[in-house]
Symmetry: C2
Subunit: 460 residues, 2 copies
Amino acid sequence: MLTKPQLKALKDCVAADDLLVDTADCWAYGYDNSRQQACPDAVVFARGAEQLQAVVQFCNHYRVPLIPRGLGTGTTGATVPAEGGLVVSYERMNRIISIVPDDRLVIVEPGVTNQALQTAVAEHGFFWPPDPTSAAYSTIGGNLAYNSAGPRAVKYGTPRENTLGLQAITGAGESIQTGVRTTKGVVGYDLTRLLIGSEGTLALFTQATLKLTPLSEGRRTLRAVYADMSSAAHAVAAIMAQPVIPRSLEFIDGMAIEMIRAYSEASLPEAAGAMLMIEVDGARDCLETAAQTLRRVAATAGCLEVTVARNEAEVKALWATRKALSPALRNVAPKKINEDIVVPVSRMPELIRGLRELSERYGVTIVNFGHAGNGNIHVNMLVDPDDEQQMAAAGPCLDEVFALVLRLDGSLSGEHGIGLVKRDFIAREIAPATLALMRRIKRQFDPNGILNPGKLFPPA
Amino acid sequence: MLTKPQLKALKDCVAADDLLVDTADCWAYGYDNSRQQACPDAVVFARGAEQLQAVVQFCNHYRVPLIPRGLGTGTTGATVPAEGGLVVSYERMNRIISIVPDDRLVIVEPGVTNQALQTAVAEHGFFWPPDPTSAAYSTIGGNLAYNSAGPRAVKYGTPRENTLGLQAITGAGESIQTGVRTTKGVVGYDLTRLLIGSEGTLALFTQATLKLTPLSEGRRTLRAVYADMSSAAHAVAAIMAQPVIPRSLEFIDGMAIEMIRAYSEASLPEAAGAMLMIEVDGARDCLETAAQTLRRVAATAGCLEVTVARNEAEVKALWATRKALSPALRNVAPKKINEDIVVPVSRMPELIRGLRELSERYGVTIVNFGHAGNGNIHVNMLVDPDDEQQMAAAGPCLDEVFALVLRLDGSLSGEHGIGLVKRDFIAREIAPATLALMRRIKRQFDPNGILNPGKLFPPA
């Protein structure tokens, strides 16, 4: 709760139209897709650098937590004001400031949605490669905060490879500018990448200069079906070891296929135990050759069939299937635990085998799909909240999933980040000295610890 | 000079074979390609993390400067022990630890040369995109320290886009591990990119995990000749605004063409005022189409001819010409000032025009060539040391070159870094608050300031 003097001071730096203090109004800004929720003491609609600087100064003065928020599509509770404080919503700071085709860049405010950006730059023949499943609703600021990339990262990289520079207000209230307007540059430390993936714990973004990529002339979409998950995982490694880099390489396991069967009319071979969706793009003349190369390479042992989508309708149907999986799973299991672990591609067969063993041992259904080309698998534990045994097993099972991932030289998160829900696991991946160094770096940006407290790091 | 107790302590942590203390021996480790030189008090040959940790502890205990050094190909004096101290040479820490084709990665010690790495991974069908002109002699550690990329960056990125993780010893003597073994990952802050480009001021690298790219099936090399530099600069912008991304896009100005004429037998049209070397790679079937597209796009106003190299001999001759430029210039003008500024591609015509004006105004010959696709131009000021007037003009002219670059939204360095020779200019590009933040970050890695003191930052 803000005190009266605090409220007065806040009103001095934020226009009445850009401030919510009524609990009923604030409540809607206290959740994300993690199903965590907490009510902020106030909500400020970000409008620009000057206003945000004043808000940060206010928060420092009164030691009020400040939580930046895009549109709440995160899955880790990173934007949930667990310790109260001010949520800064970027929904009104969503302008595309300028598109510079000759320099292949666009300058945006952080609140613009990924989709709005893509639509605007497509008119100039470009796209911005990061494309999380949430693209229609998630903001660029959020994409940057978690380095969220989606399927195209396998060919085009993550936000870290597609951002040239940032403007931001640090937790100390200083306005900083990072990076360059060029694709090379080595003057001073790389603060751009340091801020990307920092989950709102270092600074508030006020502007981002994004690197654009020309739209390719066309693409081909292939569906490869395998007898079992292990065969599909081996095929992924084979595809990634040759020069035709797919634009996306998505993996769907046997459990997910059963769901697709139940929820759509996609026709799949009876014996299908896993499938890959492979998409390749490039110059029109080269697509057929590239598609045939991938068709050949994908046909490893255990492959039942590889088909190339014949028309746009088939392509759309394939992607609809893939994109429907996450919400469909949520309908089946509202308490599903959705992780986005990542392992080296060569370890995927071991990962998949290990996950199956854990599923059997703990009696918890685990459905796996995701960005196989990066080894980035969305592991969904479907837990029935009415089943006490399952609920009790979920924690230990998740613990072992993470242990398995780390044993395979993997990482706890490919693109969702740590936030609130995984902060107690981060020390399993990052050694004490490195973690302590990160905490010290945080203090240089945010000496009073007002920015997104309790996120990313475990309580000291 | 090390005192006797210091020398004794140093000998306790470094094997006799790995230590030089004789001035005559040390002298050879006190220079780089900037023509700066200073004699280190001792040279230690790095052997591994444990030894380096002991050396860092020694340096902290006695407050002795520690300067990491690859093979001395840097151009900014960043490895010159200007304040004395210990040079740590990586020449004996040059193993390729493992190549993992299935995961498209290689793990190396920092002292391996870029060329040795390329040779080793080529056997597995891969390359590491960064390819500075110095590749035959420069080390991976050095490439990482300055984020040096060379011509292929236009398509494949710089070390920051091609490094997965690092192991290092911080200036505080702590062993840290950064990054992941995967192409996605967002757990904690991105210390990998923070260390890349930090010029040895934060930590000593002990191991690097590099992302590999499959060798493409083939390539085509084109030479486009223009009436003047401005036409060529416009062609660069046109090429970069369409989807066929060249593997390299090199720019050579009129002055450089005259040198080529004088020093090689390359036949160029009489009226040639500038040229581009354009290289495209990809699947064999697609090369011809891609080359024809680039040929068409490159033929902007002012284009005199575009030729596609007919065979490997022609390709080699073209590259030999380009790569011979830097040493040739140095023979002509031993005191040449070689900058590697970078501007947005669309500003290149203005840059080239501005440089010509400065050249005329100050009576200093300026030769420009470099990585035009990134807007990264090597600006060579040929100063005759016996010409007093020229020597007096060089400083102010350079100053105006930097002012011009910053006015065009550019950056002082694309891939050489700041080091000693540009440290007084860094504050022209980076604002006080951001620079102060970088200094504070430095202190978290290196509280006693032993790592490469006096580099990157201007004296406080």
